[in-house]
């Protein structure tokens, strides 16, 4: 497994081009559809700067930042999922299943108790708290589940469930101890909540997603070698420990960024990379970059449904992803029971 052959490079380019097109179409669709009825030509007029007023606020200040947040969160969660799956060599590993999302969410709630919110500096603080929570949760799961020679599937999943429950309970404790009024909206936020993220926060979100994405995508080739087993990877010149640390840090950072700015949205990291693997095969050099775009497109479509299905009320986008994700999870669990090599 050296550099990809020219043919597979061309294939990757076509694939990423296709997914990029899907993202653009989904984004345009989301820009035109919403519970405020803004006629298409008014949306165009807003985009060309010819209309001001409420329509401009709806399109540029509400829909556009929300579309960008959905693309970033979806991409981040999907790449994090692909990273965790490669790291654990387990197709069910995913930020929410592993409890890493809950850890990050705990960090965010702590930050909110201390009053961190929307300004640029505060956004960095919020993400830092989320990252700390994600690292602690991920580290705890690893320590609980690891045996000599690897991470047994069931132990890993159970460890993830337990750590997830621990942090969810810790959030409940915080909500009960702190003045309920200050955290009243947290209950909705915990279901995953995309909103109009402030420009400063969006910039922080984008920077963190780029950094985390680089950490994971840049190690995709070595992650392929790790799939052969740690010893084989060592023999092929891979610093297995260093690689695992890099992937872990990257996936935790991506999870933290998504949770800090969009809430703990589940199952994106499971559905997207696994669907891509079923379609494209297991090569991480293809799957992980594709997950960045595919995850964004998936979450954006899910959020467009969440925004419009019971308008003018709204659903939490996490509800939609969970409805898609649970059957998928069951399928993977059954398929794996039938064929352990999947």
């Amino acid at each position: 497994m050296s550099e990809p052959a020219p043919a597979s490079r061309a294939r990757l380019a076509v694939l990423l081009g296709g997914l990029g097109l899907l993202v653009i179409v989904a984004a345009l669709g989301a820009l035109f559809i919403g519970s405020a009825s803004v006629p298409p030509r008014d949306v165009l007029a807003v985009l060309t700067g010819r209309v001001r007023g409420v329509d401009q606020v709806v399109v540029l200040s509400l829909r556009l930042p929300r579309i960008l947040a959905a693309l970033l969160a979806g991409g981040a969660l999907a790449v994090a999922g692909a990273g965790f799956q490669g790291l654990a060599r387990n197709p069910l590993a995913e930020p929410s299943v592993l409890g890493v999302s809950s850890g990050a969410a705990f960090g965010v709630v702590v930050a909110q108790v201390f009053g961190l919110g929307g300004s640029l500096v505060e956004a960095v603080g919020l993400a830092a708290c989320a990252f700390a929570g994600a690292l602690v949760a991920g580290g705890a799961v690893y320590l609980i589940a690891s045996r000599a020679g690897g991470l047994p599937v069931h132990t890993l999943l159970l460890a993830g469930v337990i750590v997830g429950i621990f942090f969810s309970s810790a959030i409940t404790v915080l909500i009960s101890v702190v003045d309920f009024d200050r955290l009243g909206g947290v209950v909705h936020w915990l279901l995953g909540n995309l909103g109009p993220v402030a420009p400063g926060s969006l910039a922080v979100f984008a920077a963190l997603t780029a950094l985390g994405g680089w950490l994971v995508i840049g190690a995709a080739r070595r992650l392929n070698l790790l799939a052969l087993g740690e010893e084989s990877a060592q023999q092929l010149g891979v610093d297995a420990l260093g690689l695992k640390r890099r992937i872990f840090a990257g996936a935790a950072l991506l999870t933290a960024a998504a949770v800090a700015f969009a809430g703990p949205i589940g199952f994106v990291g499971l559905i997207v990379p696994q669907s891509l693997r079923l379609l494209l095969g297991p090569d991480n050099r293809v799957v992980i970059p594709a997950a960045l775009l595919g995850g964004g497109a998936f979450l954006l479509l899910a959020d467009t449904v969440a925004r419009n299905v019971i308008a003018p009320a709204e659903l939490s986008v996490g509800v939609i992803t969970a409805f898609c994700g649970t059957p998928f999870f069951i399928y993977l669990l059954r398929a794996r029971a039938a064929n352990p090599h999947l």
């Binding site: 405020a36 509400l62 009053g115 009243g184 909206g185 936020w189 003018p312 009320a313």
Partner: protein, 297 residues
């Protein structure tokens, strides 16, 4: 055994009074029989605590929740914990002869546990302004403060009427009321806040939303062109930040016109006598012109 003796002795001394046992119907229509006029009441509801103070029945109040913060004196009463999980032990040790609880904010399990302990529970479920006034009258009768309660209700009615007179015949501005900004939670159909906005001479743009206090689409709310936006503050320092986030939408007429306001949510969300303060403030925010030259209350 000793407790049994004490209970028996107590029962015996109360026997004569039992003839004059009190049968009351609570606000949900449940019948309860009390041995006598309650003298040791625990309030599990901040608004009920406020009602008891407003009718001068605070001497009968022996326990409150952590959230009972008004009037200031209520903070000095013994506390039994939060609304969702008050301490049963804490309540029992205060030896209450009545617990007042609400269907909105307390759990049904709490009522059942108290009733198994033979502590009568008076359940309130106010939804409207009329229910709040009704609650004052009921609790007044229950605590032998009938006259004080009637006076308080008459005064509140008069103030409500004064607002009605002020806003009469004026066009109703469209009002967006924000209970919680992110995700956006607003007053919907049949909620107290929707009623207060109507009474204050406004028209809530979210009154067609779900029952009670639903989540609502921000763009749908703004697309209805609210002329006044009212942000509920929740007693913390968060409001300046939330305000700044709304000020970003400077193209929205209400914000361009400087009609983005903040109101203390404790005045408008609690089913207590202070809803009339909330009503008066809302009316001033919605119809400043109606209060401009007139002398204040």
């Amino acid at each position: 055994v000793r407790r049994l003796v004490v209970t028996l002795a107590l029962g015996l001394t109360l026997l004569p009074a039992a003839a004059g046992a009190l049968s009351v119907t609570d606000q949900t229509g449940r019948q309860l029989v009390l041995p006598a006029v309650p003298a040791r009441i625990i309030s599990l509801v901040p608004s009920v605590t406020e009602v008891l103070y407003s009718i001068g029945a605070q001497d009968r109040l022996v326990g409150v929740t952590d959230f009972c913060d008004y009037p200031a004196a209520a903070r000095r009463k013994p506390r039994v914990g939060g609304m969702l999980a008050p301490s049963l032990e804490g309540m029992v040790s205060l030896k209450p002869d009545l617990v007042v609880a609400t269907t909105a904010g307390n759990r049904h399990e709490t009522f059942e546990q108290l009733e198994r302990l033979k502590i009568p529970v008076y359940v309130v479920n106010p939804v409207s302004v009329a229910d709040v006034l009704d609650l004052l009258v009921r609790l007044g009768r229950l605590t032998e403060r009938t006259e004080a309660a009637d006076r308080a209700v008459a005064a509140l009615r008069e103030r409500i009427h004064a607002v009605t007179v002020r806003i009469e015949g004026r066009a109703r501005p469209r009002v967006l009321y924000v209970l919680w900004p992110d995700p956006l939670i607003v007053p919907g159909r049949g909620s107290l806040v929707s009623e207060l906005i109507t009474l204050a001479g406004g028209e809530s743009v979210t009154a067609d939303g779900g029952q009670g206090y639903p989540r609502y689409s921000l763009e749908a709310a703004l697309a209805r062109n609210p002329e006044v936006i009212v942000l509920a503050s929740h007693g913390s320092e968060q409001s300046p930040l939330v305000r700044a986030q709304w000020e970003r939408f400077s193209q929205v007429p209400a914000i361009a016109a400087g009609r983005l306001h903040t109101i203390d949510g404790n005045l408008t969300h609690r089913y207590g006598p202070r809803i009339v303060d909330g009503l008066e403030r809302l009316a001033r925010l919605i119809h400043p012109e109606a209060f401009d030259r007139a002398q204040t209350r």
